[in-house]
Symmetry: C2
Subunit: 160 residues, 2 copies
DNA sequence: TTATAGTTGACTAAAGTAGTAGGGAATTAG
DNA sequence: CTAATTCCCTACTACTTTAGTCAACTATAA
């Protein structure tokens, strides 16, 4: 089992999508700016998210990505699964044969742990995250920062 | 966060120790045979387990490792921590600064997840595992296999 | 004194992570 | 129409970690 920047980026980007969607598509460039994630890397992640049917894409100017379902119907577990293979904690992948073809001493422990994690991450939807106070606060800060950056760019362009 | 063979081996080996300890030390060679884990790799893992004070060692013939505490007082979380750095799911390591020095959108989510996993793995002691039926069954099978192997070796030695 | 068993450090192949680079192909604003 | 925008795809790379191997050394019990 692993949970690395890859899965975290994916969840963060999907949450950004849920927060900023006003039924128009959001470009990866926007997400990249707001969440400080490399654009090329986002493209790789969204390729997988699209393959799993979590987002749909619109090409061309004004295009980008949209959630392909309601934010209530997308849970964190799905997102991590989509980019990250799995959140399975066993060595055998559930087949119970990692100790010379036989079940190992700790198999059931890792199964229980996997269940535990999966239940937890399945119980959290994007909508649930959007509703959280701490998430809203961070999102507002990011919007303020983005506005300021745009103002600075404008002044810079005007002054030059 | 990661949970790989490393942490799983460590827990399996510690559980083997708890199962087979009759207040005499168990050699890594025994554990290696029973659990099918490379001896040299076990040495590395037990070096860390000893540094964390989870086991104590006895050198020389008849030596080996013993649990340095009661099996009730050693939980799975500790063992994984000892060999695996941490089971922290955040990117920032808890300091809340992974998005350009600021807290990121999903920080609290990963904190909650970390708590969840840590609570679960802390609630399980080696003694708790030893008491489980599925663990006892696997252990008994391993003991039968080891006995048979010893018999075969004996016959092989006698016949040659 | 010798075989046993822990202790330590250096080394390695393979895999995965977190990207970068660069070319396409669709679409639409101008 | 055309040029800019945006997604799409493949290949490449530096780096880290994993899961080991190997070899030399130290303590100790029989
Ligand atoms: S983890 Fe499933 S058999 Fe070992
Ligand atoms: S994970 Fe803690 S700030 Fe991003």
């Amino acid at each position: 089992m692993r949970l690395t920047t890859k899965g975290r980026y994916a969840v963060t980007a999907m949450l950004d999508l849920a927060l900023n969607a006003e039924n128009k598509p959001i470009s990866l460039a926007d997400i990249s700016r707001r969440q400080d994630i490399s654009l090329s890397y986002l493209e790789q992640l969204f390729s997988k998210l699209r393959q799993q049917g979590l987002v749909s894409s619109v090409r061309g100017p004004g295009g980008g990505y949209k959630l392909s379902r309601d934010a209530e119907a997308i849970c964190v577990a799905e997102i991590i699964d989509a980019v990250n293979e799995s959140i399975d904690a066993t060595n055998c992948g559930g087949s119970g044969n990692c100790s010379d073809g036989q079940i190992c001493l700790t198999h059931h422990l890792w199964c229980d742990l996997s269940d535990q994690i999966h239940q937890f991450l399945s119980s959290i939807s994007l909508a649930g995250l959007v509703a959280r106070n701490d998430v809203r606060e961070v999102a507002e800060r990011q919007n303020r920062e983005r506005d300021r950056e745009q103002t600075l760019e404008f002044i810079g362009a005007g002054g030059a």
